[in-house]
Amino acid sequence: MSASAKPLLQVQRLSAQFTRDAVVSQVVKGISFDIAAGEAVGFVGESGCGKSVTARAMMRLAPEGSSVELGGVVRFDGQDLLQLREADMCDIRGQRIAMVFQDPMTSLNPVLSVGAQIDDIMRRHTGVSRAQARRRTVELLGLVGIRDAARRSEDFPHQFSGGMRQRVLIAMAVSCQPDLLIADEPTTALDVTVQAQILRLLLRLRQELGMALMLITHDFGVIAGMVERVYVMLDGQIVEAGAVDDIFARPQHAYTRALLDAVPRLESAGRLMP
């Protein structure tokens, strides 16, 4: 997992502007960051800081003609994603860059079996035959820890528990072996014991597939064990960036310090500093 000389993803002065009811708001205000191949990078911040919008903006997940204006450069493997035609962007989504969202129920199609949904993605991006896709799907479901994968691949999303659905989403995301996985609050809606399982799964997949990871969360405990570098966001800007160990041990920015002080610790019953 050594970082290559040229970063896999290089974002420069990315900005996102919303217009709603004649009010213009700058949700992302010209941020720059990069992710090397195989590297895990975390984005932390409170709600409204723009971390989720950053990810969606990069992936151009806003419909055409909506009220979002994007600016800056998102260079992925030599191409500026913000300038690509939508058709080319579709090729990249799912195959080179995949996303896992917070709420697995709304990300899955409720009327298709999970196996069919994973098959579809693989066949769209890699053109394998139906039989090959089926085999690979069952393999993937097993890889993400779903027991009795062959039978379960015929089940529908509502027949899985929350943690299992998230595993399915992860299987879909890695089905075409993307270079970069963007996970936006992937465990926030899950119970803590299930969360631990999913985090371990993501770590294992990263090691096995050599994927880069962009992890977006508000939870410092989750970030601590999963990433190598951290970007702290506040109000659409990056206020601090650094190696994860440095950020936790020696936070430089007052906001980072305030956040870390507010995180409750399991070991101590001391007063929380507001």
């Binding site: 014991t193 371990r200 064990g225 936790f248 995180v263 101590s268």
Partner: protein, 324 residues
């Protein structure tokens, strides 16, 4: 000091509380709360922890009589709530209040803060109309809000401020006991810390008892004097906070504590690298899992409550984690 504290009696006594949702449309009956018992002393906080489906929220609502209990007893200040007539129960509510999880939906969107805070005073006739404005000012200051904001509507406040309003409303009629159901889960981490700090200060100042229901174990550690752990509707462990967090006696409690992410990179990495503790047992032979204390209960044996040391008890059966 409340009357309960003066008498040395627990504020709340819950015995064998059960809530069973009846079978319906092909789904079997669900034992959401199964024989839960605990006490809460005056001025004390009992943290009730568990994951989704553990029954902790239903327990809180059943104690408040917002959900009818199928069996069991709930005594508030020595009076039995489950059999109390409606009128008496309504009046009794001034002694027990509720802080809900979602500050965005628990306040009437069309009422000003002033009206929201006046309503409990009117309903319980606890303050003469002439004195209501003063009481409202007092409440706003108590929770750290500017009194002149009372003419605004809830949507003009942030999540943290709204939760303060919810707390102010709960305190309006001088309750003895407050059920806080995930009171800060919907808030950012800094706001969480502020609200939790507020709750603690109010407890010291007013001698309140809390039932603090939450899934965030690290957070509960900051407020709870005693902790109860629930799984599958049953109480699996109950003890002082230090006992439960430092020397957990039940395998489920241990796996729960182990799963909490530590905001310390080196330790958290090590934790994720290590395999999690998984109980080994054959579900077909014994669906409830083996007795934690190695006793043989047979297939139909109920769990029993074992006392580990004074104040610290454990249910002896282990239930498997959420099935696939």
């Amino acid at each position: 000091m409340t009357t309960a504290a003066a008498a040395g009696q627990p504020v709340l006594q819950v015995r064998d509380l059960s809530v069973v949702f009846p079978a319906r449309r092909g789904n079997p009956a669900v034992k959401a709360v199964d024989r839960v018992s605990f006490d809460i002393a005056p001025g004390q906080t009992l943290g009730l922890v568990g994951e989704s489906g553990s029954g902790k929220t239903t327990t809180g609502r059943a104690i408040l009589q917002l959900q009818s209990a199928t069996a069991g007893s709930v005594k508030l200040l020595g009076q039995e709530l489950t059999t109390m007539p409606r009128g008496d129960l309504r009046r009794m509510r001034r002694h027990m209040q509720f802080v809900l999880q979602n500050p965005y939906s628990s306040l009437h969107p069309r009422m000003t803060v002033a009206r929201i805070l006046t309503e409990p005073l009117q309903v319980h006739h606890s303050v003469a109309p002439a004195q209501m404005p003063d009481r409202i000012t007092q409440l706003m200051e108590l929770v750290g809000l500017e009194p002149d904001m009372v003419q605004r509507y809830p949507h003009e406040f942030s999540g943290g401020q709204r939760q303060r309003i919810v707390i102010a409303r709960a305190l309006a009629v001088h309750p003895d006991f407050v059920v806080c159901d995930e009171p800060v889960s919907a808030l950012d981490v800094r706001t969480q810390a502020q609200i939790v700090e507020l709750l603690r200060t109010l407890q010291d100042k007013l001698g309140l008892s809390y039932l603090f229901i939450a899934h965030d174990l690290a957070l509960v550690r900051q407020v709870a004097h005693r902790v109860a752990v629930m799984y599958g509707g049953q109480l699996v462990e109950l003890g002082d906070a230090a006992q439960v967090y430092e020397t957990p006696a039940h395998p489920y409690t241990r796996s729960l504590l182990d799963a909490v992410p530590i905001p310390d990179p080196a330790r958290q990495r090590a934790k994720l690298a290590a395999a999690p503790p998984e109980p080994e047992f054959d579900q077909h032979k014994d669906p409830l899992g083996p007795c934690v204390f190695g006793e043989d209960h047979g297939r139909t044996g109920n769990s029993t409550w074992h006392v580990v040391c004074p104040g610290h008890g454990v249910s002896c059966r282990f239930w498997p984690p959420a099935a696939f």
